[in-house]
């Protein structure tokens, strides 16, 4: 694959090293002169100097080919958004991956359809939520292109669905139970399997239908 990485900080440079090691073709763009010199000593022609939000810099780095993937991991969220918009809408790059530095800027990425995004804060929050033994709903995975997400939710003792077979539970439209975890074991359930309080259920559904799901699996009847 051919990948263009914007931003040669810790994330960008280590990504570049790992991808090159795996035999991929990589171009890294770094703006800061001192950092560029360091990277050039190591990566030679695979690193270009410049502002990756400038169209001529992107073109010099090979955006017209176009790359299979553009990764925008600079320390500036506005820059990452603009790089992805230029790549996707200007050059037909099919996959763009953007880093979110400040989670408060996530709505900008979502509004402009910049997906997938990676945020250290959001990842750590996800891990913490996973450890909290409350009857909440945890986002495990977002499939942006498919407009689907996978969530984990624990069946509440007094939920309307407790004791019912999966086929009798009125899930939100389009939602499916893909796994039921009980006593430390998870299995792919069939429609006749009964849900028990304390079951940890994985559901695939459209984003935005979490509240509906919560009412069914968590709230009291």
């Amino acid at each position: 694959m051919y990948l263009l990485i914007a931003g040669g900080g810790k994330v960008g440079s280590n990504l570049a090293r790992a991808l090159i090691r795996d035999g991929h073709e990589v171009t890294l763009i770094e703006q800061r002169p001192g950092r560029f010199d360091q990277l050039e000593a190591e990566l030679e022609h695979q690193v270009h100097r410049g502002d990756a939000t400038e169209i001529f810099v992107l073109e010099r780095a090979g955006i017209k080919r176009p790359p299979d993937v553009v990764v925008a991991v600079t320390g500036d969220d506005e820059d990452n958004i603009v790089i992805c918009q230029l790549a996707r809408d200007g050059y037909g790059v099919e996959t763009t991956i953007a880093r979110v530095n400040d989670p408060r800027n996530q709505p900008y990425f979502d509004l402009l359809g910049i997906s997938p995004t990676v945020s250290a804060t959001a990842s750590i929050m996800g891990l913490i939520e996973h450890e909290v033994p409350e009857h909440g709903l945890i986002h495990l995975l977002e499939l942006g292109k498919e407009n689907l997400e996978i969530v984990e939710i624990m069946v509440d003792r007094e939920a309307a669905c407790a004791g019912k077979a999966i086929r009798e539970v009125e899930l939100p439209e389009g939602a499916r139970v893909i796994s039921v975890g009980r006593n430390g074991k998870a299995e792919a359930p069939d429609a006749s399997m009964q849900l028990e309080p304390g079951d940890s259920v994985l559901v695939i559904l459209e984003p935005g239908k979490e509240d509906e799901l919560r009412k069914i699996l968590v709230r009291q009847p």
Binding site: I55, E78, L86
Partner: protein, 138 residues
């Protein structure tokens, strides 16, 4: 009529003063408190200190009921991103975005953003000024 001006440098402050004088309700955002000085001692509009990208600040400053938004911070990419938020999420009817880089200005203009590019205007003005003397020199 209400306008929100984001970025109170030379351009943003002058636009704010002119619109205020023309009777607009003007709300101004800048990350530096001393930018208020550009608006003069008897500024009668609103002034908010903070980052223009901060959505809660945009709401506090009145983006939701603004008739127009002028985005003119010193960062092209910030302006591009804030302008798109104003138009697409807040539904502001008239959003004007300053972009200094002519290439990005052209790209976002072609995608429907109302872009003002002072650099492009300067290029055209300067070129035309030189071309105007062609005849005299010939």
């Amino acid at each position: 009529m209400k306008v929100l001006v984001i970025g109170c440098g030379r351009v943003g402050s002058a636009v704010s003063l002119q619109l205020r004088a023309a009777g607009w309700e003007v709300s101004v955002i800048d990350e530096r408190e001393d930018a208020l000085g550009r608006l003069g001692d008897d500024w009668t509009g609103e002034f908010h200190v903070g980052q223009g990208i901060d959505i809660s600040l945009l709401k506090r400053a009145g983006m939701a009921d603004a008739d127009a938004v002028v985005v003119t911070t010193d960062g092209d990419n910030s302006n591009i991103v804030i302008g798109q938020m104003a138009a697409k999420s807040f539904g502001v009817r008239s959003v004007i975005v300053r972009i200094l880089d002519p290439a990005r200005a052209e790209f976002y203009r072609s995608r429907g953003l109302n872009v003002v590019c002072p650099t492009q205007s300067a290029i055209e003005t300067l070129t035309n000024a030189v071309r105007a003397v062609e005849g005299a020199l010939a």
